[in-house]
């Protein structure tokens, strides 16, 4: 049989166009990320100094440092994870290990997805209504952490669920076959295998939480505080909100512009460091699972 030569050429051309396009797009996305980073570094590097990182803001936040905002963000990230991680992991265990396939499980999964799609300002309003007012926490690190924790919950639940789902069922069966209960099997076999992937959820959640402004707006964030928070019932400053404040309000916006870029740079670097640290942690656990 004779196959037309033109067909081969058309195939080759089609391949070239499609691959070229998708390659171009993916490189473009990487370039975009670098562009953003470059822009922030270029604008912000000038103000970065030891004083900027460790001093309180002065002169109407046009001078001095951003130390209280860094501290506040770290507190909020830790607080929200302290809440969201155990709660989310337990919910993920329920959905994947215990819930029987059927309408209830489907409903829970659907609602978890919907929760992830709720705009963050709504979380802020809800947090204010529930934690700040109803439960009487006032604007505080506690209220802000819980609000951010709620926002992070669906991410942790979904990744936990996916991580557990990827654990081969024969591991569970082998444990049951030795007389292991469901709980023992989950604790000793399933969770250790799934842990590295569950930590991925934590990374994603930390990245999300540390950059959110809307949920902390009414629940914790302070425009300016003369001293660091001393308890979880205190208000705190936070990097994203600080950035928003010095970029949009105040009488000397132009004067505080460099401070804003410096703050943005610090925020980006902190998220980057958290991501790298969590990735290292995940690799470490991944190895440990194999070793132990």
């Amino acid at each position: 049989m004779e196959f037309p030569e033109s067909n081969e050429k058309r195939k080759k051309l089609g391949q070239a166009i499609m691959f070229g396009l998708s390659r171009g797009i993916s490189y473009g996305i990487v370039a975009l990320l670098f562009l953003i980073l470059f822009f922030i570094v270029k604008q912000g590097i000038g103000v970065i100094s030891w004083e900027f990182l460790t001093a309180m803001p002065t002169d109407g936040m046009t001078k001095g440092g951003i130390w209280p905002a860094i501290v506040g963000t770290v507190y909020l990230v830790l607080g929200s994870m302290l809440f969201a991680f155990p709660v989310g992991v337990m919910a993920g265990i329920y959905v994947n290990e215990y819930a029987v396939a059927g309408p209830v499980k489907r409903f829970v999964k659907m609602m978890t997805n919907n929760l992830a799609g709720v705009p963050s300002i709504i979380f802020g309003l809800f947090g204010m209504a529930l934690f700040v007012n109803q439960m009487g926490f006032g604007a505080s690190i506690l209220a802000g952490s819980l609000t951010l924790g709620l926002l992070a919950l669906p991410i942790v639940i979904r990744t936990t669920e996916e991580a557990l789902k990827s654990v081969d069922d024969t591991f569970r069966q082998a444990s049951y076959a030795l007389g292991g209960s469901k709980l023992y099997t989950i604790r000793k076999v399933v969770l250790p295998i799934a842990l590295p992937n569950i930590l991925t959820g934590l990374i994603l959640a930390v990245g999300r939480v540390s950059g959110e402004t809307a949920p902390i707006l009414f629940t914790v964030a302070a425009y300016f505080l003369p001293k660091l928070p001393s308890s979880i019932m205190d208000q705190a400053m936070a990097l994203p909100y600080h950035l928003y404040v010095i970029s949009t309000s105040g009488t000397q916006i132009e004067a505080s512009r460099p401070m804003a870029y410096g703050t943005a740079l610090v925020l980006v670097v902190i998220v980057l460091i958290v991501n790298i640290a969590a990735a290292l942690l995940r690799n470490y656990f991944g190895k440990k699972v194999k070793m132990n």
Binding site: A101, T170, A174, A177, L178, G179, M291
Partner: protein
């Protein structure tokens, strides 16, 4: 010889699917029984009756009697199922050691059942690894990950893991189908050794393997037990046409 296991008119449905159709079969103590038949014939399902692994699949309905030492294991309290599974060891198709050390894999069944005496556990681990003819290969690296072993070694480790809690019955679901011929040979030798102490049921797709290791053979087809007899009889003069067709490779 006494019958260790027996099923009387067992029917099993997964939802609408009738997977086992009135299976009556008695399995003698201290013997190896091979279950053969084409994929989907119900032989693995039948195997999993004896440690109630089918219970884990939703919408499973089982009727009839499944007896172990004369007691119906589907009449026991659900709290006794763990106890049942302790007396029935299982080896799976793909080697599936836990992501733990070689030592901890074998010790798992002891720990899960509440044994914490370390010297007892150490003795039991060594004894069982010797039984599984793996001790010489792993005695210097018990703390190493089980994943560092070869596939054949991993499968012998899984057998050791099952033996550690001293079951009386061992169920093997195509234990050598993922292994190379040399590893398969070692597993078969091991099965031959173990039958003095245990009652073994092995599901296999490999006719030669069934012929080599088993005393009895049951041929399943479309959820029916077509024929059950001494292995020698099944492979030399089967009484059913379907059996003969299957073992001579005319279908399946």
């Amino acid at each position: 010889m006494a019958n260790k296991l027996e099923t009387i008119d067992v029917n099993l449905h997964y939802g609408d699917f009738h997977a086992l159709k009135g299976i009556s079969l008695a399995i003698p103590d201290h013997s190896v029984t091979a279950l053969i038949g084409p994929s989907g014939c119900g032989k693995s399902t039948y195997l999993r009756l004896f440690n109630r692994m089918n219970d884990l699949i939703p919408n499973t309905k089982i009727t009839g009697q499944v007896l172990m030492d004369g007691e119906d294991i589907y009449k026991i309290k659900s709290s006794k199922i763990d106890h049942l599974r302790r007396t029935v060891g299982m080896v799976f198709q793909k080697p599936n050691p836990f992501p733990k050390s070689i030592f901890e894999n074998v010790a798992y069944g002891l720990r899960v059942n509440g044994i914490s005496d370390n010297s007892f556990i150490e003795n039991q681990v060594e004894k069982t690894l010797r039984q599984a003819v793996l001790w010489e290969e792993v005695k210097d690296k018990l703390k190493k990950s089980a994943f560092e072993l070869s596939g054949g070694q991993q499968q012998r480790l899984c057998i050791a893991r099952a033996l550690a809690i001293e079951p009386t019955v061992i169920l093997m679901d195509e234990p050598a189908s993922a292994l190379d011929p040399i590893s398969t040979g070692k597993i078969e030798d091991l099965i031959f050794e173990l039958k003095n102490q245990y009652t073994i049921i092995i599901v296999t797709h490999n006719m030669q393997q069934a012929g080599r290791v088993s005393d009895y053979t049951g041929f399943f087809y479309l959820g029916n037990l077509i024929e059950f007899d001494k292995t020698k009889k099944i492979f030399t003069s089967p009484s059913k046409r379907e059996t003969e067709n299957y073992i001579t490779g005319r279908f399946g």
